[in-house]
């Protein structure tokens, strides 16, 4: 996607947008006991109760088959729930929802521009505005050169960009995006994630599922973790990290030898000592380093310190490992 100079039309696609916030519009979607069973009898999702707030970017995480796509399709109304209830904030009009499926949901017989125009026209934009907005968003996703091509002629990544463009063209206040970065190159994915974060910061509710967890690392406000067709966690990113990746790893390079007394003092300050040369420690996220450094320096000369803070990816992997261990334990029982 294009780098945009300040104030250009491409920028307007994201930056000029502000949702019409009003009282009572603090939540976008509520569900209670939501579930979906497919024709083959498989439950794609069960017992999902949650409230998705405006002004938040929610990272939807889960392994393949965990129910991410089912949840997004249920929330946008493309699938009927088998059980439970779902409510949209009454202040959200039908045209304020943008969604993007994991499959390339485009009209193969329409041109690229017509696909985006369709999104704008369905959102009740007049023809002139539809054309202007469509051209802006096509520039943003770098498809302006393919405007007249039939969608079928695009590559997978381009079709994904087209789908995103159509979802964004109407400037929706609710965005439900299933793997929007699949097939995008690194730069385009980063730029899209920044744009989505900007929308969330402006007041939109953005729910994004992505296997590229690194993209959501610093941009997500909340994490919704699914496993085996159910919700495992729905909480703030920090709280999620605390739960599944609460400990940091501290590596200290030093000259000299650490005495037994020194190591005993260090052990009192940390979760565990992984190794002594170099000194690798597992510490609580909020642990201050000053005291620890003083203890080590009482015995050796510190050359370098590196602190590794596990992120969403590590937290997700920790959860997955715990879940696997739990399943193996259950089997052995």
């Amino acid at each position: 996607m294009a780098h945009c100079a300040e104030g250009t039309n491409e920028d307007e696609a994201f930056q000029s947008w502000r949702p019409s916030m009003s009282e009572g519009r603090n939540w976008a979607i509520r569900t209670e006991g939501l579930g979906k069973r497919y024709d083959n009898g498989h439950w794609g999702l069960r017992d999902v109760s949650l409230e998705l707030p405006f002004g938040s970017m929610v990272a939807l995480l889960g392994a393949n088959g965990a129910g991410k796509s089912t949840l997004i399709h249920l929330l946008c109304g493309a699938l009927n729930p088998t059980e439970g209830t779902m409510a949209w904030n009454p202040a959200v009009s039908g045209t304020e929802v943008g969604w993007c499926s994991q499959r390339q949901c485009v009209d193969w017989y329409l041109t690229v521009r017509d696909n985006v125009l369709l999104g704008a026209r369905l959102a009740r934009m007049d023809r002139a505005t539809s054309r202007r907005k469509s051209d802006e968003i096509l520039r943003f996703v770098e498809l302006e050169g393919h405007s007249s091509s039939i969608a079928d002629e695009l590559s997978g990544g381009q079709q994904q960009r087209l789908q995103i463009a159509r979802a964004l063209v109407a400037e929706p206040s609710v965005l439900l995006l299933d793997e929007p970065t699949a097939g995008l190159d690194v730069e385009a994915a980063e730029r899209l994630a920044d744009g989505l974060k900007a929308r969330a910061d402006s007041g939109a509710m953005v729910l994004v599922s992505s296997h590229d967890i690194g993209l959501l690392e610093t941009r997500s406000d909340q994490v919704l973790l699914l496993a085996e067709s159910g919700v495992v966690a729905f909480e703030s990113r920090n709280s999620f990290l605390q739960r599944f990746a609460g400990d940091d790893v501290l590596e200290i390079l030093y000259e000299g030898e650490l005495s037994a007394e020194c190591l005993a003092a260090v052990a009192r300050e940390v979760v565990s000592i992984v190794e002594t040369v170099p000194l690798r420690l597992v510490i609580r996220r909020e642990t201050p380093l000053v005291q620890l450094i003083n203890v080590v320096e009482s015995s050796a000369r510190i050359q370098d310190i590196r602190r590794e803070r596990p992120g969403l990816r590590e937290a997700f992997l920790t959860f997955a490992q715990q879940a696997r261990s739990s399943r193996e334990w259950e089997k052995s029982e």
Partner: protein, 278 residues
């Protein structure tokens, strides 16, 4: 987890509120506009089906048959081309069935139906919007075919021609509605192709398009009674000849209304997104 009970009196919807109006025409114009754009995207196919097919049918098949069939019992003019012409128009109209099945299957599979319905397009608006370009295509085909048939000796009154084309438009609505209805139950492309293959041939040849039922074997007369195309062809033929059989007309129009209604209900109640296997 932020799990809360919905407060009492809170509006609860399995879908968004605007999805609950089956007979809404909202979005009709947008659906028509983009279906026409999609048709334009397939204009090479369109040119052959809109212009060449009706001309070739009349210039080759009808002209050939006319020489050996001659006059037809049960036709007011007794002239074969006047007998077969409304049936040929009906055959052109029935093409909407196959095309809309293909189009509608893609619409469900690739989320276009969901996109439109979620944006507030009414089910009736959607069904009629999907059918409208095929109705327009049918009218073009009738306009193209008529001069060719006239060169072969067809004589028609304007009122008869208009009546026949109007009923042909109703026929297109029937087959479009049936096509959309079928895509709601079709699970994969194989099922779709099997249904089309199994239905098209018997439907076409068990209706009195090329022959008069009066001369057909008894079993064919019985089968034809259960074929909607029979009533549609007869109603168009009657209109073309300037006569009217109210029972046939009522059945033909009733079939169209029922098919559109069934399609609307299937759109309202069914899943908006096609199966993963499609």
């Amino acid at each position: 987890m932020s799990a809360r009970s919905l407060p009492s009196g809170f509006p609860v919807h399995h879908r968004r509120p605007e999805l609950s109006k089956p007979w809404s025409l909202t979005g009709f114009a947008v659906v028509v506009e983009f279906e026409l754009r999609a048709l334009w995207g397939m204009r090479s196919i369109l040119i052959s089906s809109l212009f060449l097919e009706p001309i070739l049918y009349i210039a080759l098949l009808v002209a050939g048959l006319q020489g050996i069939v001659g006059n037809v019992e049960g036709n007011a003019s007794g002239d074969y081309i006047a007998f077969v012409f409304p049936g040929l128009l009906a055959l052109q109209g029935i093409q909407a069935f196959v095309r809309i099945i293909y189009r509608s299957t893609a619409e469900r599979r690739w989320g276009q139906l969901a996109l439109k319905r979620l944006a507030g397009v009414g089910p009736l608006g959607y069904v009629l919007g999907m059918a409208a370009p095929f109705v327009a295509a049918f009218v073009v085909q009738a306009v193209v075919a008529t001069p060719v048939a006239m060169l072969l000796g067809l004589r028609a009154s304007l009122a008869g021609w208009l009546g026949s084309v109007l009923l042909g438009a109703m026929l297109v609505l029937f087959w479009a509605g049936l096509g959309i209805l079928l895509t709601a139950v079709v699970r994969n492309y194989q099922q779709r192709d099997t249904i089309i293959g199994l239905l098209m041939l018997p439907l076409t040849f068990s209706a009195p398009v090329f022959y008069s039922l009066a001369n057909a074997p008894r079993y064919l007369q019985i089968i034809a009674q259960f074929n909607p195309l029979t009533y549609q062809v007869l109603a168009m033929r009657n209109a073309f000849a300037g006569s009217a059989d109210w029972r046939t007309l009522a059945i033909a129009i009733g079939c169209s209304v029922a098919a559109v209604a069934a399609a609307v209900i299937s759109i309202t109640r069914g899943e908006l997104l096609g199966s993963e296997t499609m």
